[in-house]
Structure formats: structure tokens, C-alpha cells
Symmetry: C2
Subunit: 427 residues, 2 copies
């Protein structure tokens, strides 16, 4: 049975601040989901005594140690040699792995530098963890120590290689090691229009301590809530579904998707399903709404185009906004934004036109219309709605928030959820 994990990462690029260590975050997230307790995350540079220190420490307080980095072909890749030393075993050479490395180089029509064969060396007794995307496989080594049985896992530092190895080999192995034990099942809600603490308040008391665990994650402008249930396979699915139903009753109005989805992905999917087309007239969001929707592969099926009208002139020339509307009500007004939405819809021949105008700052605010004032409008067959918002935050924040609103309005229109009631933001 394994309970407690330690994560190590090795590399001068991390201790000198050149690279943010995202590997450890990814691994920690996966281990927690798998039901392990992560006792420590330690990073050291490519220095023998520090790497040895890190392994020795980790082996004192964890029974699974997962390390990334330090298994490349160059002189500063020290991990394998030092793991063998710490474990007190010899290095062995795998002819099979060596052959595979030679094959990779041959397929690229390149000569293999001799030092690449270093990657075919492993501590005696190690089990290879295959790497389908690079030359360096990982490995797992089991040891009996005075502190108990230890599992040492070594993976490459390149995230693109490390992540599939975690998914394909390491996590299934952990599942097996914990087999018979409990499994963890999660359900994630993606929300918009409510703060983390507002969400927390809404669901307060809904789930008892021993039923499941709630976790919130704010990745602006998106706030997700995850419920994790621990239990036996076969019964835990039913329990997580029951909890999800109770949570949905409380926060359903703010949920735009479940699982690992984005607002633009949800909107794209809906447009595709309903065979509708869309276009934006963006002022303060500066193209971000269009950028996000076109991040979705296949968006050319429903996204026709947009007009970014930053100047007044562009609003009249490209969107047919009446110059009188602009002079009477100003660029940031419901009157203007309604004409922008109708204008872009007509110009593109789209089913839905959404427009936004606002003051992103830092300059341009007035006492009457301070930075953060934003107006949205949506035009579709038989409908033209608009609303004014008072948002807060810096320029980047306001751009992100207005683009999120544009996308959310499309979603609401397609699902026939009243837009004018999209009371943003409840705290």
C-alpha cells in the first residue's frame, strides 16, 4: 500500500528562475486525484550533492518519489547515476533501449552521438517506463529501506513526454498499488458570473464532511468547482452523481459546462449543433472574443468574422452606426452598442451579432462613465437586447471579462436563457 508521495524536479533552469516548474504542479494534481498525500515538492539544480540530498530526504518521508529531469544525454544529466548510488545498486545497460534510440536517430536520418547511449543505462532492477515521444525512457525502482518499502520513479523533464508517461504507465501503476483500496471520483463545474466566495456561500452546508470534498479553482475569468468523492468502485459513481445533482440545484444558474471545457468550446459546440452563425463587433475587447472563439478547431463552420471598431470612424463606416447616436450618447452607450450589434449581423449576414463597447482603461474614464463601464448588445432574428455593466480591474481584466460576457451571451441566446437577467457579478 502506498500513501505518501514526494515530487522532485532537477534542473538549473528551474533554480535559476529561467523556467517555471509546471511539471510538479501537474504531477501533484494527478497524485491527489489518485488519493495520495503529497508531502513535499523539492527542486534542486544539476549538482550531485544536492540531488543526492533531495532523494535521501524524500525517501525518509514518502513511499513514492516521482522525479522529473536530469535523464538527458549530456554531462549535466546526473539523475540515473545518482539514483543508483542512493539505492546502492549498479548501473546496467539495456541493449533493447539502445537499439530503440539508434532506430529513432536513423528514422530522422541523423547520426546518433555516442553520449545518447547514456540513456540506455538504468539502476539494476529497474522497470522501464516507455517513452513514445523521446529517446529517454523513464523507470521505476523498488527498494527495501530502514524507513520501509520505497518506490523511486524517474521521468524526463520535457512536459510533452512526461505527461503521456504519467497517464499511460504511472497512474495505472498507482491505481494497481492502491487496488482494493478506495478510488477517487471527481465532477467539475465550470462557472461564470459569481466569485469564488459567492460560490462557496451558495453551496455551504450542501455536502457533509464525510460525503465528499469541494475544491475551488479560480483561473480568471473562469471559476471552477470540483467535488471529489472517495469510495469503492461500483458505488462511488452513484454517490458522486447524487452530490452533483444537489450542487447543480444551488449553482446551476452559473454553470456553463461540466468537465474540462472552456466557455468558447461550449459556445462553439452549441453553434455547431444548432447550425447557427455568429459575428462580433468588438470595441473594448479588442479582438479577444474572436480570438477565443477561433481557438476552437472547426470554428470556421459557424464563426463568419468580426469587426473590431476601435475608432468612432470605424463604428460609422464599418458598422453603420448613426453618427448622431455617437454624438448624442457617446461610444460607450447602450444606444451605440445596439446599432453595432445590428450592424455587424447585417454586414456579415450572421444569425447572431454580439457587440461590446467600453472603457478598458487605464485612461478614458469620466465621472459619469468610469473605467470598467461596458455595454453589450445581442441581435438575432426578432431580438435586440442590451445592457450596461460596471466592471472592475485593470485593462487586461476588463478585456477578458467583456470577451467572456460576449461568449456567454451567445450561449444564453442559443439556450434561450434570459440575457437581461445575467446579473453579473454576484459576490
Amino acid at each position: 500500500m502506498i500513501e505518501r508521495a514526494a515530487i522532485l524536479s532537477t534542473g538549473d533552469e528551474i533554480t535559476t528562475g529561467k523556467v517555471v516548474d509546471t511539471n510538479s504542479n501537474y504531477i501533484a494534481d494527478k497524485l491527489i486525484e489518485a488519493g495520495l498525500d503529497v508531502a513535499s515538492i523539492v527542486t534542486v539544480g544539476d549538482v550531485s550533492e544536492r540531488i543526492v540530498w533531495a532523494w535521501e530526504q524524500a525517501m525518509r518521508h514518502a513511499d513514492v518519489i516521482i522525479s522529473t529531469g536530469g535523464i538527458g544525454p549530456t554531462a549535466d544529466d546526473l539523475t540515473t547515476e545518482l539514483v543508483a548510488r542512493v539505492a546502492g545498486v549498479e548501473l546496467t545497460f539495456s541493449e533493447e533501449v539502445a537499439e530503440n534510440i539508434r532506430r529513432i536517430f536513423a528514422s530522422l536520418n541523423r547520426t546518433m552521438p555516442e553520449n545518447n547511449l547514456k540513456q540506455a543505462q538504468f539502476p539494476a532492477g529497474a522497470t522501464i517506463i516507455p517513452n513514445h515521444l523521446g529517446t529517454a525512457p523513464g523507470y521505476r525502482l523498488e527498494l527495501e529501506t530502514p524507513h520501509g518499502r520505497k518506490h523511486l520513479l524517474v521521468l524526463p523533464g520535457v512536459p510533452r513526454e512526461m505527461k503521456p508517461m504519467m497517464e499511460e504507465s504511472v497512474l495505472p501503476w498507482i491505481g494497481e498499488m492502491r487496488g482494493g483500496g478506495d478510488v477517487f471520483l471527481t465532477r467539475t463545474f465550470q462557472t461564470f458570473g459569481i466569485s469564488e466566495s459567492g460560490l462557496d456561500e451558495l453551496v455551504s452546508g450542501v455536502i457533509a464532511e464525510d460525503e465528499g470534498k469541494l475544491a475551488f479553482r479560480a483561473n480568471f475569468p473562469q471559476i471552477s468547482m470540483r467535488v471529489t468523492v472517495r469510495g469503492k468502485e461500483g458505488e462511488v459513481e452513484r454517490r458522486v452523481e447524487a452530490l452533483a445533482r444537489r450542487l447543480r440545484e444551488k449553482i446551476g444558474a452559473y454553470v456553463y459546462g461540466e468537465g474540462d471545457v472552456s466557455m468558447e468550446g461550449v459556445v462553439g459546440q452549441l453553434l455547431k449543433e444548432q447550425g447557427k452563425t455568429v459575428g462580433f463587433a468588438e470595441a473594448c475587447s479588442g479582438g479577444l472574443s474572436s480570438h477565443r472563439l477561433t481557438n476552437v478547431p472547426g470554428s470556421s463552420d459557424y464563426f463568419l468574422g468580426s469587426i473590431i471598431a476601435y475608432s468612432d470612424n470605424a463604428k460609422t463606416r464599418l458598422l453603420d452606426v448613426n453618427p448622431d447616436t455617437l454624438s448624442q450618447h457617446g461610444a460607450v452607450s447602450e444606444e451605440t452598442v445596439r446599432e453595432m450589434a445590428s450592424g455587424v449581423r447585417a454586414r456579415l449576414g450572421a444569425d447572431i451579432g454580439v457587440a461590446v463597447t467600453g472603457i478598458a482603461g487605464p485612461d478614458g474614464g469620466t465621472p459619469d462613465k468610469p473605467v470598467g463601464t461596458a455595454c453589450l448588445a445581442l441581435a438575432m432574428e426578432g431580438t435586440l437586447v442590451s445592457r450596461q455593466y460596471k466592471l472592475w480591474g485593470n485593462r487586461e481584466w476588463i478585456k477578458t471579462l467583456t470577451s467572456q460576457l460576449c461568449l456567454d451571451w451567445v450561449r444564453r441566446a442559443l439556450l434561450e436563457i434570459p440575457i437581461a437577467e445575467s446579473g453579473f457579478i454576484r459576490r
Copy 2:
């Protein structure tokens, strides 16, 4: 004299994978610049024995320990109590800090919860590090230990509070401690159009080992090169400038800025200086060029607007592309993109119009025009240039790269650097 540092971060949110620890990366970068050696970066959750372990270990191998997190007002904020325990000193109460916390709450018209006074407690002998953006100040504690003199620094975990405290208090203190010793001066080049290894090759042998140290940092699509020189104040400036001159000779063609600047910032500055206006016609980049340029505060002075023409229909209706051009040459062709550039320039009445069209994938490629094919054009008074590129990468990558090219073309046009020769990408 201080030489060796350890970085600690405390918080369940990191060991459970909810948050990426960017604080440690920031601190490591600053310490390296200040000439310290970062021996280890350790993260533990909010568990007493683990925090104590982390401090004790750090005090063995470092003489400066900088910790973030664990100094909030709640029960799981354990750092101060444990630092006092590790240091073997009492906790003292600062009436001055308490008064300041009360004042902050009063100014927000809120009642101060009693547990906030926990933030006015410090290990005896500590020197306060002021925090102008939050209620929790940091502190510094000096200790004599069997392993020598140790400096324990405690900062809050909120990056927005921690960073100014580093800049205003910690870094000047480190400078003083290392006073009389060497200083480190850096110069950073922002480049585009060349890979990291290509840059490395170009500058190979230009700088001797003892003259300075080169570091590369790839933050796609931007690759920066930093040269760091160590020496005495008063003479090091001259040396770093001499090195920068030699480096510029080799890589100048790829450098678009020096220091902490972005491509969009550089382009915005040039447009402002020259009093020119710009607009984009974006197809494959989907609004990203406009989004990036409008991230620059004050961009409404020179950015008039853009037309995102995703559909053929939008290209003819909004950009006056001739339908015959589209049917004869296709949407992704130099012929079409030239008409798009002229079209957007005319429609907006801008000085410069830049257009891009391409196949961002994953679908839409043909043997003749595979995914990654992109065409750019730039129109300005008396000039209309275009070029076809074969780019690589996934959808996100190609969008980013084409937006970078659009911005770089504006820069080149304003600086009268030939665009057709912008031989992207030299490996």
C-alpha cells in the same frame, strides 16, 4: 557575506496541484541576478512537521532562506509560530503593526476579525518588512547557528504583495549584505525570427567564459537572450555595454527590442512616435493581432480597428476582395491577401493595413497548401508587399506566429527594414 539561498513555499494549494508556484520562480530569478546561488526550492503543505522540516533543512545548506505563504490570519497559517520554534525564540506582539491592520479595516468600513491580530505577531528580534498592499507584513530574522549565521526572510504568498516587498526591501538588503562584493548587470535582447539554437550558434565564441554569461529564454513566440556581467560597480556598466555591442553585431537583424519589452509594445511606441495609424485584416490569426496591439494602454491613438474575415463572404463583403481572385487563387494566396490589405487600409482610412490568411489547422490542409501555409501582405502609401510562409505547429502556435508576423511587419515598415527579406525562420 551571504552566498547561498534556499526558497521555501508553504501552502496546501501548491502541494495539491491547485496552483502553480510562480513565486519561487520569480524569487529565484531575482536572487540569481543579485549574485546568489539558489541551492534548493522546497514546497510543503500547511502541516507543522513538514514546515519545520523544510526550515531545518534549508538552514543546513543555505545562509539566506526566503519563504512565501503561511502568514495569513487563519488557523492553517503556521509559518510565524514555527519559525519562532525553529529559531528558539519567543513570539512578540507589535502594537504598531496591529494599529495599522485596524486602520486598514476601518478604511474599508469593515470590522476586523480578531484573528487578524495574529499578523501582528513576530519572532522576537525580527525586523519588519513593510507590506503596502496587504495586512500581513513580512519580516527578517538573523540567527547564529552551528552551521553559521543564517538570515530567515518571511514574505506573504500573494504575488501582488510579495513582489513589491522583494523589490523595495529584500533586494536592496541583499545588495547591502553583498556590498563591496561584486554586482551583476544584465542586458536583455528580445528577438524574433530565429530559434534558440540558431541564436546560440550565431553568438558562439563571441563572449569568453570570464567576460559574461549568456542565458536564453524561450517564451513562444518570443526568444530572449540575456547577458550577465559580474564586476565592480563603476566598471561593470562599461563592460556590459561593450559585450552588448558585440552581440548586437551578430544578432541585430533579429532583435526587435532591448529590456523588458513586448513586440506589441514596441510597435505601439513606434506608431505613436511617427503619428501613424494601423488596422488589420485577419483571417487565420482570428483577432489575435488586434487583441495584442490593444493590450497596449493608449493604443486607441493609433489602432483604428480590424476586420476579422473568417468566411469568403466576409472577405468580399467587408474587404472588397474580388470574388474572381478568391475563386482563381483561393483564400490562402498572396493575390487574396494583397487585396485584403489594401481593402482594410481603404475601409479604415489607415496609414498602414496588414492582412494575413492561412491554414491554422487541424483541418483544412491540402497537399498543395498544407496546414501552416500562411500569406501576409502590407499596404501603405506607395507600397504593397506580400509573402507566403510555411509555418509549423498546432493551431494555437500558428495563430500566435502569424500575429507576431503581422506586428513585426508593421515594425519593419515603420523602421524601413525590408519586409520581403524577413526570412522567417532561420534555424
